[in-house]
Amino acid sequence: MRPLDWVVLVCWLVAIVSYGLYRGRGSTTIDNYLLAGKTMPWYAMGLSIMATQASAVTFISTTGQAYVDGMRFVQFYFGLPVAMVILSATAVPIFHRARVYTAYEYLEQRFDARTRALVSGIFLIQRGLAAGISLYAPAVVLSVILGWPDRLTTVLMGSLVVLYTTLGGIKAVTWADVQQMTVIFAALVLALGVAIWSLPAEVGFHGALAVAGAAGRLNAVDLHFDPNNRYNLWSGLIGGMFLALAYFGTDQSQVQRYLTGKSIGQSRLSLLFNAMAKIPMQFFILFIGAMVFALFTFVKPPVLFQPVVLQHARTQAGFKDIEARYDAAFEKRKAAATALIASGERSAYRDAQSEFEVVRKDAAKFVEKQTGLPFNDTNYVFLSFVTHYLPVGIVGLVIAVIFSAAMSSISGEINSLATVSVIDVYRRYVKVEASDRHYLWASRLATAFWGIYAVVFASYGGSGFGALIEAVNVIGSLFYPGMLGVFVLAFFFKRVGASAAFYGVIGCEIVIFALFKFTSIAYLWYNVIGALVVIAIGLLISLFQPKLTQAA
């Protein structure tokens, strides 16, 4: 980072906060604060949905994933457009007509208070844990790149988000997201351009495609069905559709975005915009990773992309031997890649690529042996490229983009957590009758609380966070199926009542936890199985105890 990069970064952060506060002014009623007075146009909601979903880690790790594993991850999103169509036809008009602030409020209208409390409680636990992680994970990556303590990056990002989210409410969140997504798109295009432009003249774009393709980095579609493989066409279409239904249809951090629409049509368009734009965007991000792979085939990358770990490893006995083997493997692969471009000879290149990967794995094992912890530097691949190859000023812009991606996800999370806390808990059970102004201030305080909680949680998570991130991801995939199932019952099974829905969720969670404990089924399938279990239990109870199933 050079002085111009710092100027760009600081100006960008000031601009985000100022713009968010400017657009969020006038949020002086609870409707304005939580639902933007239902005035949002489709493009603002659409970009905000996209920004909330694309966290910094998603953004950094997606490019890294293409570098190490190819582009097959894009299949994960194939079910998303189908889910968006289903939600546009069902959830959007239902939520709008129910005139709710939260998705869970609708569950009380449809079933009873107990089901609403159960599902909103699940959301608060799941999203509350995730909020700390959303802040901590990019803060650690940025702290390594900037050379700052991770608590400083955590507090900096957290306090900026808390400032504009607390003061401006959802209007500030949404318009800041629009601004952030615009710059994210611009930075992605620049990054791809630089990756291709940095290739040696004799390689060129066609050579890069040949090299990346021969190494399996351009395999985007796999037609082979395997329930234990999370990335193939079928798991993407079916599992991905159910995951997207759960995420966009039941998670308040997403539902709240499209509830701000000025009409049902505007909300539908925001989802359908995502349906059409999301897959090309993910393909584009993955393609950047594949082009970085091609570039690093001809320009030697570090043996390990995590700079602090690499620096430490170099002080340890035995690592020099690995680096010497790495240098030799790199030169061999480079020669084989040059031959591949010249003559189309693939087998020698593939052998050289396998040998290169073995040395990289040995380097990772060396670190794991030294630290006793699992090591994975996928998240540092793109940042290594950014800091070494992008021109001055653009590096600052890309780092700003990573800050933006993190902040847009966190702002959406704390905003939705505050909304559920106030609407589904405080206004429902603590202070049932109060003025609009009272609930507005309760919402502001709840937003500040969840923001500060996320900062404190992230700041004091410490080294145990590695395992915690994994645990939180698992918890998310375990709870979504029950949430999806109960909304499917609510929308499509009019004869199923409150008790059937409640016990359906409980039964579903038991089944999903058992699947997680005793099988190796890929988590994308949990939503499919879970939703079916809720429906089956709901229908069974309705059949045998019709009196119990009367809606409250």
């Binding site: 409707d31 457009p81 709008h96 395999n219 009409s263 049902i264 539908r268």
Partner: protein, 52 residues
Amino acid sequence: MAQAQSPKENLKEVIDEPPPFLGRWTRVYALVLVWLATLILLFYLFSRAFAA
């Protein structure tokens, strides 16, 4: 526990208008699904062209 009174009277009327193009929402949904099928086909051809 009593149901909280919602300040939803402040919210505007719920409007359900036709889409700005193609006339009916079902046609817009069909367009999205055709777009998805096209993308999958293009990505498949892309994968085949550069297959490892």
